[in-house]
């Protein structure tokens, strides 16, 4: 394989109506005009970016935010390298929900996943309920990073994704496994067949 592309799966979590989808759409649409929009389909977004000469492919999986679908979360975030947990700064419930997601992600995926807590709708500063200090303190306490964004004004979104990608890249490079595709393989293997020894991926690199 000529290019050493990395591919990351990022999952979007958060209550309904906090603007999850808007954030991603804003991010995707702003870089490409409408004609180039790869997938305007609901629920899945893909974007290639260049960071420090490395090509990275972000695949962003949207999830349904309604409470009734909460239990389906694990199906989506399994195997993802990044999570965007979005809340609405004018809605306390959505922040509580976000905290639940973070807690769940921490228990299920540990440190393998780069967590982002995103306070969206920061254009509505007047009706803010969750103070920035409170949110940031919480983020720090769980090892996540807090971002303030406004999908409406396109504020903070580009930075958010760039930062997340950097973090995921460094996460991968610090871990023992050389490439993301191999990461997926190891998790897959260990999930499925416990008999297979851990060193197997090194003996069978796919192509790099």
């Amino acid at each position: 394989m000529a290019d050493a592309d990395k591919s990351f799966k990022v999952v979007l979590l958060g209550e309904g109506c906090v603007g999850k989808t808007s954030i991603v759409l804003r991010y995707i649409q702003n870089t490409f005009n409408d004609k180039h929009l790869m997938t305007q389909h609901a629920g899945f977004f893909q974007k290639n970016i260049n960071i420090n000469g490395k090509r990275v492919c972000l695949t962003i999986w949207d999830t349904a935010g309604q409470e009734r679908f909460h239990a389906l979360g694990p199906i989506y975030y399994r195997g993802s390298q990044g999570a965007l947990v979005v809340y609405d700064i004018t809605d306390n419930d959505s922040f509580i929900k976000a905290k639940n997601w973070i807690k769940e992600l921490k228990t299920m995926l540990g440190n393998d996943i780069s967590l982002c807590i995103i306070g969206n709708k920061c254009d509505l500063e007047k009706t803010r309920v969750i103070t920035l200090a409170e949110a940031e303190a919480y983020a720090k306490s769980v090892g996540a990073i807090h971002y303030s964004t406004s999908a409406k004004l396109n504020k903070g979104i580009e930075d958010l994704f760039l930062d997340l990608t950097r973090r995921m890249l460094s996460n991968v490079s610090t871990s023992t496994i050389p490439s993301s595709s191999n990461t997926a393989q190891t998790t897959n293997r260990s999930e499925r067949i416990p008999i297979v020894p851990d060193n197997e991926p090194t003996t069978k690199p796919v192509c790099c």
């Binding site: 592309d5 260049n50 949207d62 998790t187 499925r192």
Partner: protein, 670 residues
């Protein structure tokens, strides 16, 4: 291990078939199939041929596009499946449409048209090579892979594949997980070896996908019969091609469980998921999405099954786009998908999900089609977990009322195949469940069982549906999906799709027991059953009239079913199906109720005459024969079972059954 095949690493020359000569190679795929191949790989040929007619057009048209540098076109599927990506939403789009679509989309993008600007528009991202691969690309590359595989230089790869497939089908494990592990491990090893092969040097990402898909397709086509659970249950013979007839598959226990569960929850409507606004004008789309999803059963490879899911999702996107101006995310998408899955009630859905997630390499599950497959998994999970109204927008009492109603109607809705199958499965420990369901059937009158409207539906469908189901006896998709089709199926004594013959025989062997149980239930419960039976006109209160009406309608429906069954039994053309009769009859509530009434001798004159007319329709010979044989049988059994505690029930049962199951009994006695 045995599946680790050894590849001969000879010295290879670089072949000029690399990268950019794909178009030539590609075309030759269709024309020169038979020339290149030697004896070892006849299979490849046939495979290539099965897909050739559809893909021909598409490929020649899109070659230019892809040659101009692995660009990305808007992701449209032009697999062998129907192309749903067309902006005009052509329902019956076929290969010619998909090719025209490619042209159209390129035209749209460039504005100027022509061949040059195409790839400017379809290229995406900063890098020259993108990891985004469309379905067209991977399909095309998969075919390229096959072409290269056929070249003499790829002999060792072919041999390896062939020996793996042969060994696996002979000595492979039965356990699903082990199978998945072996196949995926082998696929990765082979992929690694292929990449060292001169024919496949320096592949692009799309080519790599093509190689992976090609390996998967080769292996899974050949091993489908011993990997896909319903195919194993159906004892499917190994066969070529990527298409399999659904009628040869037998749903597993889990499939049936899910199928039944969905059947019970068919009353859920869009408003219960807060998505009613999408369905007011979109009924056609909804049906299309359902039919796309149902194609899943007919394809063999995990990839093609996922493409079916993807196509189904695409219809939903269209539906969303039409109704909703806001950007749509999973918030709207998932409930609609859940609803579609619910209404589609795909037989063998669960097996399909397990199959794809077992035999599709997990490291490849980060693509878009994988995402939609994940959505499907979560939709199914959601449906499976519906047990309370907590997660739905529905009144609690309403939910339980409707569910109870649907649960009671279940035996009427499930087609006879399903019931038979349940019979078969129920053999021992589940008999009690069957008995329970029989009790449920016999005493539904404690509550109004169904609304008059629905009953009307039933009756009207009885009259018009048989021709339809006769014309398409092999379409299991439609059967059991709604109550209509289930009635159809009990009308014609149904070609058996969920069953192979062995199981039929088993189930009919089981049936006497089941009959006995049924009968005992009826004898104890019959007083509840037709509660107006002994009424005089003065006894009836006004409030009871709807119930009376319902009872009456039900009776008529059952009577109709019975009649048609009897007629079918008389028809020599249906002799093939006789074996499958008894269990279905015994488990159908319709029959059992009539039994109870005949036995009771308390039936109204109308019913009697009906029964008589039924009997008259039988030839007198068969009746005589039966009675004789029955009496013999009875005597024998009496002798045998003198010391048993309940000979009566068996006796009664036989007697009660005799007028109703002539054909089946005689066939059994033959």
């Amino acid at each position: 291990m045995w599946f680790g095949s050894s590849l001969l690493s000879g010295s290879f020359n670089n072949n000029n078939n690399n990268n950019n000569n794909n178009s030539n190679v590609n075309n030759s795929d269709n024309t020169n199939n038979n020339n290149n191949m030697n004896n070892n790989n006849n299979n490849n040929n046939t495979e290539g041929l099965t897909e050739t007619p559809k893909k021909n057009m598409t490929k020649t048209n899109i070659n230019d596009e892809f040659l101009s540098g692995n660009g990305i076109s808007s992701s449209q599927s032009c697999d062998s499946l129907s192309n749903l990506g067309d902006p005009d939403f052509d329902v019956k789009s076929n290969s010619s449409n998909s090719s025209s679509h490619v042209q159209r989309s390129t035209g749209n993008g460039s504005g100027a048209g022509g061949s040059e600007p195409i790839y400017e528009n379809i290229r995406i991202g900063n890098g020259s090579i993108s990891t985004i691969i469309t379905l067209e690309e991977s399909t095309k590359e998969r075919n390229n892979f096959y072409t290269k595989l056929k070249s003499p230089k790829a002999m060792d790869i072919r041999r390896s594949l062939l020996s793996f497939v042969t060994k696996f089908s002979e000595y492979g494990p039965a356990n699903y997980e082990e199978q998945g592990h072996i196949i995926i491990t082998y696929s990765r090893e082979l992929e690694h070896k292929i990449l060292l092969h001169p024919l496949w040097q320096d592949p692009t990402e799309a080519e790599l996908e093509g190689i992976r898909d090609g390996i998967e397709k080769y292996i899974m086509n050949k091993l489908y019969h011993c990997t896909f659970f319903p195919a194993r249950l159906g004892r499917l013979e190994p066969q070529e091609g990527n298409i399999v007839s659904e009628s040869l598959l037998v749903p597993t226990e889990d499939d049936l469980k899910l199928y039944k569960h969905i059947m019970i929850h068919q009353f859920l409507e869009p408003q219960h998921f807060d998505i009613e606004k999408f369905f007011t004008v979109n009924e056609q789309r909804q049906n299309l999405a359902i039919s796309e999803l149902k194609k899943m059963n007919t394809y063999k490879t995990p990839r093609d099954k996922m493409v079916c899911v993807y196509n189904c999702c695409k219809v939903i996107f269209k539906l969303l786009k039409n109704t909703n101006n806001n950007p749509t995310g999973a918030d709207e998408f998932l409930p609609i998908l859940i609803y579609v899955v619910l209404k589609a009630n795909l037989p063998m859905l669960k097996s399909n999900l397990i199959y794809v997630s077992t035999f599709r390499d997990q490291s490849r599950m980060m693509t878009e089609i994988a995402c939609y497959f994940t959505h499907l998994v979560s939709a199914v999970t959601f449906i499976e977990n519906i047990s309370t109204p907590a997660d739905l927008s529905i009144e609690e009492s309403e939910f339980y009322r409707l569910r109870e109603k649907y649960e009671m109607e279940l035996p009427l809705k499930l087609n006879s195949d399903m019931l038979k199958r349940l019979n078969y499965k129920l053999s021992d420990q589940q008999k009690s469940i069957l008995a329970n369901s029989a009790i449920n059937n016999t005493q539904p009158q404690s509550q109004p069982q169904s609304t008059p409207v629905k009953e009307n539906n039933n009756t009207s469908n009885i009259s018009k549906s048989p021709p339809h189901s006769n014309s398409k006896p092999l379409q299991p998709n439609s059967r059991g999906h709604s109550r209509h089709s289930s009635l159809n199926n009990s009308n014609i004594s149904s070609h058996n799709t969920f069953f192979n013959e062995n199981e039929d025989i088993h189930s009919s062997c089981n049936s006497p027991n089941v009959m006995a149980e049924h009968f005992s239930n009826f004898s104890t419960n019959q007083s509840h059953h037709y509660e107006f039976l002994n009424y005089h006109s003065d006894d009836i209160k006004i409030g009871q009239i709807p119930k009376l009406l319902e009872d009456y309608k039900k009776l008529i429906i059952e009577n109709n079913i019975l009649k048609s069954k009897l007629n079918n039994g008389n028809n020599p053309a249906n002799n093939n199906f006789h074996i499958s009769e008894p269990s279905s009859l015994s488990s159908s509530p319709a029959l059992s109720r009539n039994n109870s009434t005949t036995w009771n001798n308390q039936i109204s004159p109308n019913l009697l005459s009906n029964n008589k007319s039924n009997n008259n329709s039988l030839s007198s010979k068969t009746i005589l024969e039966e009675e004789q044989s029955l009496q013999q049988d009875k005597k024998e059994k009496e002798k045998e079972k003198e010391k048993e505690s309940q000979p009566n029930i068996i006796e009664k049962n036989q007697f009660a059954e005799s007028p109703n199951t002539p054909s089946s009994l005689s066939s059994l006695l033959d």
